[in-house]
Amino acid sequence: MSINPNLADIRFEPVPGYLVGREKVREFAAAVGALEPHHHDVDIARSRGYPDVVAPPTFPIVIQEKTLHQLLNHPDVGIDFTRVVHGDQKFEYSRPVVAGDELIATLRVVKVQSLGGHSMVTTESVMTTPEGEHVVTATSTLVVRADEDHS
């Protein structure tokens, strides 16, 4: 199995809307050491001008994972999941994610590069509200290690 060189031409449908839950935000914040009260306490978040508790900056990975599964499971993609290593990660925000947001994520393959038998696949998952307001874009570079036969 080898990677489809024309990955960037594959169109991916948006994944079903993800409703950001208050308890999920608290649980995720605790798991990454985000202990500031506006990640946990609704009254404090509101007193600071947010509609609800604020998700930590890396929270959208939970939603991005759903789009990456779409990529890895696509019949025309040809990426062997067991050879994938996370290379780079980036989040770019228009505004913070808060509990109550419904986010619709759409994946696009931005770039495929080869380097000594390895491939690097850069994807971008754009997350918007149902009304189309951009909230955050998560960009990942996945390094796909070469098959043993070719290394």
Partner: protein
């Protein structure tokens, strides 16, 4: 008053450490939904050529910036955050692993109300585990 108003370019504005244990990995697996067994089973990790159980890259990325979130408070927000994963963070069964972060102010855009921090993330002994780690913070 912005978090960076009293700092100059080149200043180390905040630092912090977390001592990672297997409990952190289990907690993160549950919170994120990433149940790859290389993050909780040594036998599976070794089968795929690793030294043993390692932290999720995204756990490291998350914890590494938590001192910056405390420094920033609720009056600012993170406009962007990026890292390169350069070295696995192995977490043995019985010994906590110290992950240390230092954030340095590298740029201020007064007109946009934004500042850029570069983050140095190391293990005890000084090995860097995240490269090209940059955080852009913005005032609200």
């Amino acid at each position: 008053m912005r978090a960076w108003d009293n700092s100059a370019i080149g200043d180390e504005v905040v630092e912090g450490s977390v001592f990672l244990t297997r409990e952190h990995l289990v907690r993160y697996a549950g919170a994120s939904g990433d149940f790859n067994p290389i993050h909780y089973r040594d036998d599976v990790a070794k089968e795929v050529g690793l030294d043993g159980v390692l932290a999720h890259g995204m756990l490291t990325m998350g914890h590494a910036m938590s001192p910056v979130l405390s420094w920033l408070g609720a009056d600012g927000y993170v406009a962007s955050y990026q890292v390169r994963f350069t070295k696995p963070v192995y977490v043995p069964l019985d010994t906590p692993v110290a992950l240390h972060s230092v954030a340095t102010l590298t740029d201020v855009d007064a007109a946009l109300g934004r500042a850029t921090l570069s983050l140095r993330v190391t293990l005890e002994g000084g090995h860097t585990v995240l490269g090209k780690a940059l955080i852009v913070v913005a005032s609200r």
